[in-house]
């Protein structure tokens, strides 16, 4: 008798896709997927309003699977943004979307579903936002689809292509003063020169000693930055405490497209520069003077980041030339920081707080820079014009580096500042 060949194992993402598609789906396949959750934020309100009114559609496939949060425009500063908020509320009422988190009630749509329990390990999610991939932190697979989010909202399913998986082994323990944000930037740099497969999406899957040590906040930061590697997203295996965690994990013989090892003990605290040099050690920017410091966003605006900033700023003062703006990523993060005295410590140092959400990262309508000003921020991106002024410059770093720079009035690491 000949042995029956054992079918190759599946990756975590292939398992999630196969279940949600109802057919076996391996890397590269295009399948129709029924999502467990669809996340939408208010940046798409005007576009959805236009689409839904033009279509005159009586109902959505399953409003219970839809999750809407206002996070981009939390403080209305123009007629247009106020109108978009009104339109989004009306759409949620009209179509019976009960998982709707209005201004001041929830926070960032890329994070909030974990807090509320709307998303579970092994879920398949369609997200309007490119950073919806944060949900990979608990072992969900989120695929960002932008304006086409109305298609699965109405039809209940939409196409998706199963990604190839790069298995990233994160070994070692980072040095003192090196944080998840620095590790994430290092991963982006490490992957920059690797040719990715063409003709299909790529996801990262994090493993190893460092990955196992991370809490939910650090996991989200790492997932967030996958999009800067050429992958569309990233996943972790579910936390070991999650019931059924084993079912949502790659098989030992899964067909990974590539395996990569990164020793986190070699990583140094870094900043991403706005001048094309990319990610460099903090001291390489030579104490550049700053006028603004920003802690927030779904990249690094979590409890861990605010606590880290407070540990640097406690009992200190923000430099007289600097405005420090803090935006907790969700209401619950703000509340926890309030209870633990973190808000008081940061305010005593001179910080101002914005209501939970995206903060200045969502186009900079709040926290804009003046012409020629320099900011250091924990936000997602430092593309020209992100904080409004085209003549301004944004450096990116960890909450520790941002806090230390706020004290010094210039870009320095927390180690140098001390």
């Amino acid at each position: 008798m000949t042995a029956v060949p054992h079918p190759a194992g599946l990756t975590l993402s292939e398992k999630v896709f196969s279940r949600a598609a109802g057919v076996p789906a391996t890397a590269g396949a295009v399948v129709d997927v029924r999502p467990d959750l669809i996340t939408v934020h208010d940046g798409y309100a005007a576009m959805l309003w236009q689409q839904f009114n033009a279509l005159d559609f009586p109902s959505l496939d399953d409003p219970e699977r839809i999750f809407v949060a206002i996070d981009h425009e939390v403080h209305y500063t123009t007629d247009d943004t106020a109108r978009a908020g009104t339109q989004l509320r009306e759409l949620c009422r009209r179509y019976g979307i009960s998982q709707f988190y209005d201004v001041g009630r929830g926070g960032n749509a890329n994070v909030l579903p974990v807090e509320t329990g709307a998303v579970k390990a092994g879920d398949f999610v369609f997200a309007s936002d490119v950073n919806g991939v944060n949900l990979g932190a608990i072992g969900a697979v989120a695929v960002p689809i932008g304006a086409a989010i109305s298609a699965p909202m109405i039809l209940g399913e939409w196409w998706a292509q199963v990604p190839h998986t790069i298995r990233v082994e994160l070994s070692g323990t980072p040095r003192a003063g090196v944080h998840s944000r620095d590790i994430a930037s290092h991963i982006v740099t490490a992957l920059a020169d690797i040719a990715l497969p063409t003709g299909g999406p790529v996801t990262l899957e994090f493993h190893g000693e460092y990955a196992a040590s991370l809490h939910i906040d650090g996991r989200m930061t790492l997932c967030h930055f996958a999009m800067h590697t050429g992958a569309f997203g990233a996943v972790f295996e579910p936390f070991p405490t999650h019931s059924g965690a084993k079912a949502v994990a790659s098989d030992p013989d899964a067909a990974f497209w590539m395996r990569l090892s990164i020793d986190t003990s070699e990583v140094v605290a870094s900043v991403k520069t706005p001048d094309g040099r990319g990610v460099v050690p903090v001291d390489a920017v030579g104490a550049t003077p700053i006028q603004q410091a920003v802690i927030g966003s779904c990249a690094s605006g979590f409890y861990a980041d605010l606590a880290l900033a407070a540990s640097v700023l406690r009992g200190r003062r923000v430099h007289p030339d600097v405005r420090l703006i803090v935006t907790p990523v969700t209401r619950a993060v703000h509340d926890r920081c309030e209870r633990e005295g973190i808000v008081a410590d940061l305010r005593a140092a001179g910080a101002i707080f914005l209501e939970a959400g995206c903060g200045p990262c969502a186009g900079g309508r709040v926290g804009a820079l003046g012409p020629g000003e320099v900011s250091i921020a924990t936000v997602s991106d430092n593309a020209t014009g992100r904080f409004q002024s085209a003549g301004a410059a944004i450096y990116l770093g960890s909450a520790a580096t941002v806090a230390a720079s706020a004290i010094a009035g210039a870009i320095v690491s927390a180690e140098e500042e001390r």
Binding site: A148, S150, A151, W159, A231
Partner: protein, 183 residues
């Protein structure tokens, strides 16, 4: 094959053409403009100010590596869709690829595309997009789009697909109601 079938022109736009500068100036995205004619008129205007007035629907934009990189917002995609061009790019970041396909932009991936084509020359494209032939005799063989995605693009993208689906479902509803009345 007669030259009369060479009814498209090819336009070169190079490597790393990003959504927020190269495809369309950022100011239209920042203003959240939904004016398709205005967006169309400024397509590639930073890179080549004269190009948008020369492009005809059906023309081929030959791009190098990493076309539509950066954060690809809705407005540059709308400008491409409105223009009716076919994009032949050496590579495209995945999320940009996905968003252009969803929007109904004709997009083909073809490594080494830019070296085979001269700017402004005439080209012929086979009906399924699997073969492009240039005036100067060069051939490009783009990767085939998965069938489901080709159908989506041919249908005009997700908005057109949704509009048709809504009409179909309303038809069903009317049928159900009339059956109910008859019973």
């Amino acid at each position: 094959m007669s030259d009369s079938t060479m009814d498209r022109r090819a336009w070169l736009v190079g490597d790393d053409v990003d959504g927020d500068t190269g495809i369309l100036p950022l100011r239209f995205t920042a203003a959240r403009s939904l004016d398709r004619a205005e967006l169309r008129a400024h397509l590639f205007s930073t890179l080549r100010p004269d190009l948008s007035s020369r492009i005809q629907s059906g023309d081929v934009i030959v791009a190098g590596e990493n076309f539509a990189c950066g954060r690809l917002h809705a407005q540059p995609i709308m400008a491409l869709r409105e223009s009716g061009v076919v994009i032949v790019a050496a590579s495209v970041p995945y999320l940009a690829y996905r968003r252009m396909i969803d929007a109904g932009v004709h997009l083909l991936i073809c490594p080494d595309s830019t070296s085979a084509v001269t700017d402004g020359e005439r080209v012929r494209m086979s009906e399924d997009g699997s073969l492009l032939t240039t005036e100067s005799g060069a051939s490009l063989r783009p990767h085939a789009l998965p069938l489901a995605l080709r159908r989506l693009v041919d249908a005009g993208g997700f908005e057109a697909a949704l509009a048709r689906e809504v009409v179909a479902r309303k038809g069903h509803m009317r049928l159900d109601q009339s059956e109910g009345l008859l019973a």
